[in-house]
């Protein structure tokens, strides 16, 4: 039993390596921040493309739906390995893009960002879609009858209402994104799990892993509470039947 605690809860060891692990954890947060911005935009674009009306947009809708289905189905780990192992071979792409070192970040960082963005774009697109479809059709019809185009109606009437409906599920996606940033360790990007395992390899002590877990808990627990609050607020609104009048 004491061996178990020594292996996983050696507080002296955690103290010795605190800054090293924290610095690595900050790398997770950087990936998270960059991917969150990209995936939220990419997802919105996908959701809007998916909602395009009429026959002439059938191919667009088809491609969008195929993309979303595909990237929701492929394990993220495989996407990361395929991108980091595949893109560099595409020699028709300029080397600075194939093997990016932008903003002082090494290429595995950008491969990880690209993979997570592609996957989480698909997931957030579905959340946006749920929001857009929850706005009554009458809103779109009314906007169109006032002479707005489909895009104008989306931009000024439907999407503003849709986004007020989805913060809770979207935050859930972001929570799972933050945790999935650790997967980038598989292509040797020095984030917290890679560093923890590196420390484990050096010292045979797993406490750095627990320290890393603690950092994640510290960030994610408040996020989870916010989700709870948002859901409670939403249900209050629905109970009063007033959420439609937000705009």
């Amino acid at each position: 039993m004491s061996e178990f605690f020594h292996q996983y809860f050696d507080f002296n060891y955690m103290g010795e390596h605190f800054w090293e692990v924290l610095e690595a954890f900050l790398q997770n947060l950087v990936i998270f921040a960059v991917v969150a911005v990209l995936a939220l935009s990419w997802g919105l674009l996908l959701a809007l493309l998916r909602q395009l009306p009429g026959k002439k947009f059938v191919p667009v809708r088809f491609v969008t739906i195929a993309y979303i289905d595909l990237f929701r189905a492929i394990p993220i780990l495989i996407v990361i390995l395929l991108i980091s192992g595949g893109i560099p071979f595409l020699e028709f792409i300029p080397k600075d893009i194939r093997i990016p070192h932008w903003f002082g970040k090494p290429d595995p960082f950008w491969y990880g960002v690209a993979a997570l963005m592609l996957v989480y774009g698909a997931f957030t697109a579905e959340v946006y879609r749920a929001g857009i479809e929850a706005v009554p059709r009458g809103q779109m019809e009314a906007a169109r009858s006032l002479g707005m185009s489909h895009w104008q109606a989306m931009r000024h009437v439907v999407v503003p209402q849709a986004v007020t409906l989805i913060p809770a599920p979207m935050l859930n996606e972001l929570i799972s994104l933050l945790k999935d940033t650790t997967l980038v360790s598989v292509i040797a990007f020095a984030e917290s799990v890679l560093i923890s395992r590196e420390l484990l390899a050096q010292s045979f002590n797993s406490s750095a892993m627990i320290l890393t877990a603690f950092f994640f808990i510290l960030i994610i627990l408040p996020m989870a509470r916010v989700v709870d609050k948002l859901i409670a607020r939403q249900q209050g609104k629905i109970a009063r039947g007033s959420h439609i009048e937000v705009a």
Binding site: S84, G85, A188
Partner: protein, 275 residues
């Protein structure tokens, strides 16, 4: 109507999963039956006894490779030969290298054969058998690279495998601009071929294997490390340690070692391992 259709779809889905699960079980049944067959053959050769649980980080070709139930490689063949001598059939568990010594110390398996170098640091956690292999590190580069050895790695992006002596060598002597510790060796070689790293420091036989099987890469330099591989056991398991050492001695003496070595490395073994 739509509800019943949904239910039907769900039922089909469940049946499909069940079918896959059954097929999976069938597969493992097969492997366990082949396992007992090999067990029977050891009994004929005077063995028997309970299986010997062995941990290894697979794949690490040519030391360990293959699918669960049909693992093969230099380490595996050697361990099988030793197992035969001591009358216990090895049963392999694929595990991760950076936890492997802790796991054997805690008794998750009885022995570790995983191209593991004997170091003082590791000897604090586990006990090692007599050395069964002498190793060198290789600097693996892309074909036509102007890197000719360790000295040229200064300022370059270099990869190695996490928890290995290759990584230590890189830290101590390479002076690279960035040293990337990949969790698995093949991913490091892949990164070299993709051009995201300029060199990989890895065990020489693994490098040789990559040169032969994957192509496009070559060994720039072999660095002798005075590394010896050993079979690791829990520190207090002295009885098994003695048995394994004796088994290894026999395997070397009767020439089995040379046969296995030549099979996997296309080379004559070092003198001390020739029978």
């Amino acid at each position: 109507m739509s509800k019943t259709r949904l239910a039907a779809l769900f039922a089909v889905f469940l049946v499909a999963i069940a079918a896959l699960a059954v097929a999976g079980c069938g597969g493992s049944d097969d492997s366990s039956s082949t396992g007992s067959e090999t067990g029977a053959s050891t009994e004929e050769s005077g063995g028997g006894g309970e299986p010997l649980t062995v941990g290894s980080d697979i794949p690490y070709p040519p030391f360990e490779e293959g699918k669960p139930g049909e693992y093969t490689g230099f380490d595996i063949d050697l361990m099988d030969a030793i197992g035969e001598r001591i009358g216990r059939t090895p049963e392999y568990t694929d595990t991760s290298f950076e936890t492997i010594f802790r796991d054997v110390a805690q008794g998750k398996f009885e022995a570790v054969i995983s191209a593991a170098t004997i170091t003082e640091e590791r000897e604090q956690t586990v006990g090692f058998s007599d050395p069964y292999y002498l190793s060198e590190q290789a600097i693996l580069v892309k074909e036509g690279s102007d890197i000719t050895g360790l000295a040229d790695l200064e300022g370059k992006v270099v990869a190695a495998q996490q928890g290995t002596t290759g990584l230590e060598l890189g830290k101590e002597k390479a002076n690279a601009s960035e040293l990337r510790p990949f969790p698995e060796g093949p991913d490091a070689v892949n990164a070299l071929k993709a051009g995201t790293v300029e060199a990989v420091i890895i065990d020489a036989p693994v490098a040789q294997n990559a040169v032969e099987k994957s192509g496009g890469v070559e060994i720039a330099e072999k660095v002798p490390t005075e590394e010896e591989y050993g079979i690791a056991l829990a520190k207090d398991n002295t009885q098994l340690l003695e048995e394994i050492n004796k088994g290894l001695e026999e395997v070397i003496a009767d020439g089995t070692y040379t046969t296995i070595y030549e099979k996997w490395f296309n080379l004559e073994p070092p003198k001390q391992f020739q029978g």
